[in-house]
Each structure stands twice: as C-alpha cells, then as structure tokens.
C-alpha cells in the first residue's frame, strides 16, 4: 500500500539549509532515543527509527540530498526513470523493502538488515540503479526478528499459535531478477526482485517458554536470491503480566488474602494455581507475609518437571464490623495477653 513519506528534514527536525554536522547530530540524538534495540517491543519506536534511517541515508549524502531537494520523495526513481526512458511518473506504491511490516494480531515482524561491509544497509534501489545497472542481492535471505506476546497460561501449556506477518517473498513475475526483459523493470516488484506478501504460519510453541525465550524457525525469514535459501525467523517471547501470578524463575508467587480468624485458627482455603484452584491448609498461628509452598504447581520446566507455587499470606482486617463482631473483639482484647509491639521488638532483637 502506498504511504506518503514525511519530509526528511521534518523527520530529523532540521532546516533545509542544515549543515552536514547539524544533520549528523540530529540523527544521532534521535537514533539514541528511538533505536529498536534500546526499545524492545516498541512498535512506535521502531517505525520512527526506520523513518530516521531513511532520512539520514539521504540527507547525509550530498549527492542524494541534492536529488532529494530536486525531486522530492521519488528522487530515486524519477531521475533514473528519465535516464532509462521508462517513463516520467514514479511508480505508485513505491516503498522501502528493507523490513517487513506488522501483520494482524499481536505479532510484530521487524526485519533488520545488517551489512558489515560498510555499504548502506537495505539500499536496494541504489543497488538496482547504481553503477552496475543490475541488481546485486544478498545470497541468503535475511533473518527476521519478531516478538510474540503470550499469556502466562499459553506459555506454560505450549501449543499451536498462529502468526500473521508481512514477509518478503520472491517476486512471482520476474522470479527474483527484478527485470522482465533487458532493461525493463519488473512492474510487480519495481525491480527489487521481492514482494511483501501476507503470510500465515502455525507454530507449535513448546511448553514452558519464558519471557525472553527465543525460538528459531529455520527458513521462515526473508526470501533469498533465486536458488538461495531463505533466512530464519527468530521469535522472541514476551509474556503479558498476569493479574494474579508473579513469575520467579520456574516458580510462581501469588498473594492470598485471609481473615484474622483464619490466620489464628488455621483453615482450609481455595488457592488459585495456573491450572485452576486447589485446596490448601493454612496452619494455625499463620503470620502476615508467611509463604506457603505448593510443590509442583509452578511453571513447566523445559527439561521436564515443574517449579513450585508460593502463596504469600495477606491478613485482611474487615473494614466494618457488626455489633456482635465488635463485642467478640472487645472480649478477645480483654482476655488476651498478646502484645504485638513487644513481640515485634523481641523478634527484631533476635534477628
């Protein structure tokens, strides 16, 4: 889909007469703020950074900047199209093929292309219209990194997850060459040899993935050059915070409100676990903050077995009391010798 790109000077927040140093400084400042590796999972930061890269790539190069000032956002195509005699109008839907965009659902696909050779990363159009005149393309398809958000229950249980993403694929018209005839640019892929197509895949998520786990799906990344293998898809797992459970490694922690009389007398209560409620015995004389362990009720471990669940007791005093309850509390106050403050001081001294 065609989207109008923002003015590059506006993206970097500089004037059209900005010097090279000013442009460099502006880019570095914004890059530090929006770099995706410094903002994991932040789609907005990622989009903003892509904009910055595009703007900096052009405005930091005097030749490209001059062309951009002359032709605007279609500078790459317009001049070359005139020179090659393929028409004056820039193609509709021209877009940056460096990364795959996000598909529907909770999954993001952010394919970062890295090139250690020092050339501009992902500069596909310069490769096409540069000195060689023909496409130079990486051999193997690029690896793609994406984030998959799961609930704690889904992560623990494992099972099939459907991912929808925009992925690069070999252009079906030119079979990846970028040309349909000598010097005739493929109209489908506009010369890139690749198209971005929606892709749906199903993955069996192993039971027991954790926040930060990364899964590799071989061959599910970007399409390679003709005859070359596709890149890999790396799925980083993000767990949504749970309203009840806190994750502590393989163990779970949950807070359990109990009444004062349950703490004093002991009780059998229902306690939530990740698979539903279970009964648990609160021993008589339980203290605020005491942690009781439910063995094997924690998270599934990758190598087998389960962690434990720790139930932290939270004694909750009723906010209001009936007349009868107040009478009973008064009687308890008269008959009990327990001094909480003295007991606390003794405990503090002992530790």
């Amino acid at each position: 889909m065609a989207t109008k790109t923002r003015d590059y000077y506006e993206v970097l927040g500089v004037s059209r007469t900005a010097s090279e140093d000013e442009i460099k400084a502006a880019y570095r400042k914004l890059a530090r703020k929006y770099h995706p590796d410094l903002n994991p999972g932040d789609r907005g930061a990622e989009e903003r950074f892509k904009e910055l890269q595009s703007a900096n790539e052009v405005l930091s190069d005097q030749e490209k900047r001059t062309k951009y000032d002359k032709y605007g956002e279609n500078w790459r195509y317009a001049e070359q199209a005139e020179a090659a005699g393929v028409g004056n109008a820039p193609p509709p839907g021209w877009q940056d093929f460096r990364t795959g965009g996000a598909g529907a659902g909770a999954q993001d696909a952010s394919g970062f292309e890295f090139n250690f050779s020092g050339e501009d990363a992902g500069n596909i159009f310069e490769e096409l219209f540069g000195r060689a005149g023909r496409a130079r393309r990486p051999t193997r398809g690029r690896d793609v990194e994406a984030t998959l958000e799961l609930s704690l229950e889904d992560a623990n249980r494992g099972g099939r997850q459907t991912l929808q993403m925009q992925a690069t694929d070999v252009c079906p018209t030119c079979q990846g060459t970028g040309f349909v005839a000598e010097n005739q640019i493929c109209p489908t892929c506009r010369g890139t040899g690749q198209v971005i197509a929606p892709k749906t895949i199903e993955v069996n998520i192993p039971a027991g993935v954790r926040d930060g786990s990364t899964l590799r799906l071989a061959g599910q990344g970007g399409a390679g050059a003709p005859g070359q293998s596709a890149g890999d898809l790396y799925l980083r797992i993000r767990l949504r915070p749970h309203e009840k459970f806190a994750v502590r490694g393989d163990d779970l922690e949950v807070e359990l409100p109990i009444t004062p009389w349950e703490a004093v007398l002991g009780a059998i209560v229902q306690v939530p676990t990740i698979e539903g409620s279970v009964e648990m015995t609160i021993p008589a004389g339980a203290q605020e903050g005491k942690r009781l362990r439910l063995r094997g009720r924690g998270l599934t471990k990758r190598g087998g077995g389960r962690g434990d669940e720790y139930v932290r007791l939270n004694i909750v005093v009723p906010p209001t009391s009936s007349d009868e309850e107040r009478r009973l509390y008064e009687e308890l106050r008269r008959s009990s010798n327990f001094d909480a403050r003295a007991a606390s001081q003794r405990k503090g001294a002992a530790s």
Partner: protein, 107 residues
C-alpha cells in the same frame, strides 16, 4: 487460507556453532568475532578459556547483530554496545516486575 505449519528448529538457541558459521550467517569477518570472544563480549560454550574450536550458542548470532546495529547506528564501540544491551535487558526485567506488581495491586 490454510496456514503452513512450521516447526521450531531451535529453542532458546542453544545450538553450538563455530565462529565460521556465525561469520557466514551474519556477514561479519571471523577475525572480528574472535576479537569479541577474546574481549568476553560474546558467550562461548565450554568454560573459560573456551576449548578449541571455539563454539558459541546460536543466540550469540542475535547478540552480535544487536552489537553491530548499535555500532552502525549510534557510533558506540563493541564493548559499549555490550554494556548497553546488558542494561537494556535489566531494565526490561525491572519493567516487567513493575508491570506485574501493578497488575496484581491494580495501581
């Protein structure tokens, strides 16, 4: 559209790789990767010093790409990039804990 069913090839990316395989996967020179290993910026398999041939877990590939992106985009050196990534990871852990606490206490 019937989705393709794909298999997880590697979980937590523990698969041991030689530095040459990592170099091919990332387009980075082996000598540079060796330097990062020597500086302790990349995880190796088999203890310190790592036995020959040096093997690294596959997740090192992702870490390496992150380091290179930070070098390329922000002008930091490899050691600085490694520190930044460690700090970001710690920050993400703290953010998750705060989010968990907020979710539990409704704040």
């Amino acid at each position: 559209m019937t989705p393709d069913f794909v298999r997880v090839t590697d979980y937590d990316l523990d698969e041991p790789l030689t530095l040459e395989v990592v170099a091919e996967a990332t387009g980075i020179r082996v000598t540079f990767i060796e330097r990062l290993v020597h500086l302790g910026l990349l995880e190796t398999i088999g203890g310190e010093p790592p036995p020959e041939p040096v093997l690294v877990p596959r997740r090192t590939v992702l870490r390496l790409r992150q380091i290179q992106r930070l070098r390329r985009d922000l002008g930091v050196n490899a050691a600085g990039a490694s520190i930044i990534l460690d700090l970001v990871e710690r920050m993400e852990g703290m953010k998750r804990e705060v989010a968990e606490t907020r979710a539990r206490f409704g704040k």
